[in-house]
Amino acid sequence: MQFKFLSVLALSVACFAQKNPFTGDASAVEAGRLLFRISCAGCHGLHAMGGRGGPDLTRGTYSTGDADRDLYSKISNGVPGTEMPSFREPLDDSNIWRLVTYVRSLSHAGGAAIKGDRVAGEKLFWGKGSCGQCHRVGMRGTAIGPDLTRAGKQRSLAYLRESVVSPDADLTPGYATIAVVTRDGAKISGVEKGFDNFSARLMDLSGRYYSFLKDNVTSMEREYRSLMPSNYGRMFSPRELDDLLAYLASLGGEQ
């Protein structure tokens, strides 16, 4: 008897979870916006365009499925293997649907349309740009800089453009530059692998790893600048940049 009751309950919840009761409801959009600011903005950004952790949600396409019920499921259950937790406990069904309604309302207000040619952009990435010398996409490239396998799902187009032309604008945490001057005057810099009050660890662009104790060097600084060249905005024509961005925006984790 108890089993039967639970089955019916589960079925009714599943049915409820299929359909958004607030589709087209402007007040639900506003309520969802307030909920988003409280519960989601910390990772997805105040305007849902992607923070340092959560993906851009304004593009109308989502890594875990594009239907309302997919969004509901991910908010309710979380996404295993990512930082996205379950919000089933703090938010009830109707509030999760209000969030879904708000997120869906953003999809047309998303960033600029993708203009470039993805295939041409892929060639530029691995060819003229030599981006793979420092970045990895799937199994290709080198993981000295941030892994770009899912960059298209994680960042807005505007953010990706800024990262290409102004690499220092907003560093990915953990990818600062460590600059060390040794006692014999040698200057060594590389990507941060660790930095604390008394030691520093880094990897230079050739992949060589270094570790220093502060007591044993002349100076040891963490600089909030990127080791990525800052001339891509000049190296690429506007059209090439669009192509490159089309490629980056297409990166969703598929191999």
Binding site: R37, I38, P90, A169, N197, Y224
Partner: protein, 515 residues
């Protein structure tokens, strides 16, 4: 060496004071000094400090505890309702008890605990779900457990209790959930409530006029860090947390007493003797929970019984602890919300600092200049030691409905783009508020401070370093990488003629003595 030989190492006058080699209460003494009179480890010998034993709890971390040490044992109140007694010589556990927390807890900051109180043959701690527990010191067995408040409504408990006037004094946490704070006193034998001081006055009570409408009902004002006690005045001093909801002050117009205040309570009755509100109508989550340390100072040529606090709002304060009058108020970190503290004791506000829809950049940030971590006062140097967070935040405000037991902060903060907060350990002259030295850190630390008669200050960082400073100059004299992030204060004690330093690091307790 024997215990007797310690007498050869320590001045007789110091040994005559009971407890010089022990650590029997959260702040080492009821005044909250965190000062050890042991001096075997000093500015010269500290270079020979080395690990003696490590107790691995089996937990992954989350220790914020101040170990208690006496009678050849160390008592640890750990996270998730775990408690241990350890043999002081070897670190081997004598008993371990655990009460599994309820499944659904509404917590801001993990299942942490900051330590025991002790009276006679009993230990007292809070459990995370908001109970106060008395344990048999010999076995860890529960003698009584009293519910402080309903955890389903968002209440929880994390602070070490305080013994004052032979009562067990405790606070409560949960101001981010629309709760109403209090300071309670319990009978140590029976666990029965003796008195309660509500930190948010009820309808018609003095101070209720500082809350618009019925906002007092969700007013917050939690009491999540241990207070101090002046036996001569028989007054308990306790810091009060933020009003709720944190960042939307529109729904709770007024000063919102006694949030962000320190209160002086009669230890026998819990009656309010005086209060001082550091941050009237706070909208930045600047709880006044930093240690309220009781010291006798000479300020501007006048001897005063003072209470000092490095407040989360970025100002260091010295108050007259008999009246609550402000004697010194000076910033110790970057402050953008107030020009200073006026002669009436109220902050001189800089307009336009409240949270907004699009975010307003304010310094200090959400965690404040100095947060909860334990502070130390050295009568040897006359300096006050604490850490700071050198940071600013964008504060956002969002209209939020209240649901019982749910997060009610309305709304949150972000670090400004391109900014990277750092931290410091500071030595401040409490008679002037002047910073005498500081040590810059790559990030702020939650580890507390310990001052010793060896002319040292010990503190630690989140990356695992335990550090010894020259208390007068701030020079780093010794450091050790413990291998676990540190968010707990060090303590010092003596055993068999040796002075020890102990600290919780990661999921372990580590002890150190001279080689």
């Amino acid at each position: 060496m024997t215990r007797l030989s310690l007498a050869l190492l320590l001045p007789a006058a110091l040994l005559a004071q009971s407890g010089a080699g022990e650590w029997k209460t959260y702040g080492q003494n009821s005044l909250g000094w965190r000062y050890s009179e042991l001096n075997q480890i000093d500015t010269t010998s500290v270079a020979r400090l080395a690990p003696r034993w490590i107790f691995q709890s089996g937990m992954t971390g989350g220790f914020e505890t101040t170990p208690l040490v006496f009678n050849g044992q160390m008592f640890i109140a750990g996270p998730s309702n775990n408690s241990w007694a350890l043999d002081l010589l070897t670190g081997k556990p004598l008993w371990h008890v655990k009460k599994t927390p309820p499944g659904r807890l509404n917590l801001c900051c993990g299942e942490v605990n900051r330590g025991f109180a002790m009276l006679g043959d009993r230990l007292f701690r809070v459990n995370i779900e908001g109970t106060l527990v008395a344990l048999d010191i010999r076995t860890g067995a529960t003698l009584w457990e009293t519910k402080l408040a309903d955890h389903k409504k968002g209440y929880s408990a994390t602070a070490a209790p305080l013994i004052a006037n032979n009562l067990v004094i405790t606070g409560i946490a949960g101001a981010e959930f629309g709760t109403r704070g209090f300071v309670d006193a319990y009978n140590p034998e029976t666990g029965k409530l003796v008195w309660r001081f509500n930190t948010v006055p009820g309808e018609g009570e003095p101070g209720s006029e500082t809350w618009s409408g019925e906002s007092w009902k969700l007013g917050g004002g939690s009491t999540w860090i241990t207070g101090t006690y002046d036996p001569a005045l028989n007054l308990i001093y306790w810091g009060i947390g933020n009003p709720g909801p944190d960042m939307d002050g529109d729904v709770r117009r007024g000063d919102n007493l006694y949030s962000c205040s320190v209160v002086a309570l009669d230890a026998g009755t819990g009656k309010l003797k005086w209060y001082y509100q550091f941050t009237p109508h706070d909208v930045h989550d600047w709880d006044a929970i930093s240690d309220p340390v009781l010291v006798d100072l000479t300020i501007a040529g006048r001897a005063v019984k003072a209470l000092i606090q490095a407040n989360r709002n970025g100002f260091f304060y010295a108050l007259d602890r008999t009246t609550g009058k402000v004697l010194v108020a000076k910033t110790y970190t970057k402050v953008t919300w107030a020009k200073g503290i006026g002669p009436d004791g109220r902050p001189i506000l800089i307009p336009g600092q409240d949270p907004t829809e699009e975010g307003n950049l304010v310094c200090p940030g959400l965690g404040g200049g100095h947060n909860w971590s334990a502070t130390a006062y050295s009568p040897q140097t006359g300096l006050y030691y604490f850490n700071s967070s050198e940071d600013c935040h964008l504060f956002f405000k969002t209209k939020q409905g209240f649901t019982e037991g749910q997060w009610y902060q309305a709304s949150n903060v972000e670090g400004p783009r391109g900014a990277h907060g750092t931290g410091r350990i500071l030595a401040v002259d409490p008679t002037t508020g002047e910073t005498k030295w500081h040590f810059d850190m790559v990030s702020s630390t939650s580890a507390g401070a310990l001052a010793t008669a060896g002319g040292l200050v010990f503190s630690a960082d989140g990356q695992g370093y335990l550090i010894a400073f020259d208390a007068r100059t701030g020079k780093v004299l010794w450091k050790f990488q413990t291998g676990g992030g540190i968010a707990a204060p060090p303590v010092s004690y003596a055993l068999d003629g040796k002075q020890y330093i102990a600290i919780a690091a990661g999921g372990s307790i580590m002890t150190f003595a001279l080689q």
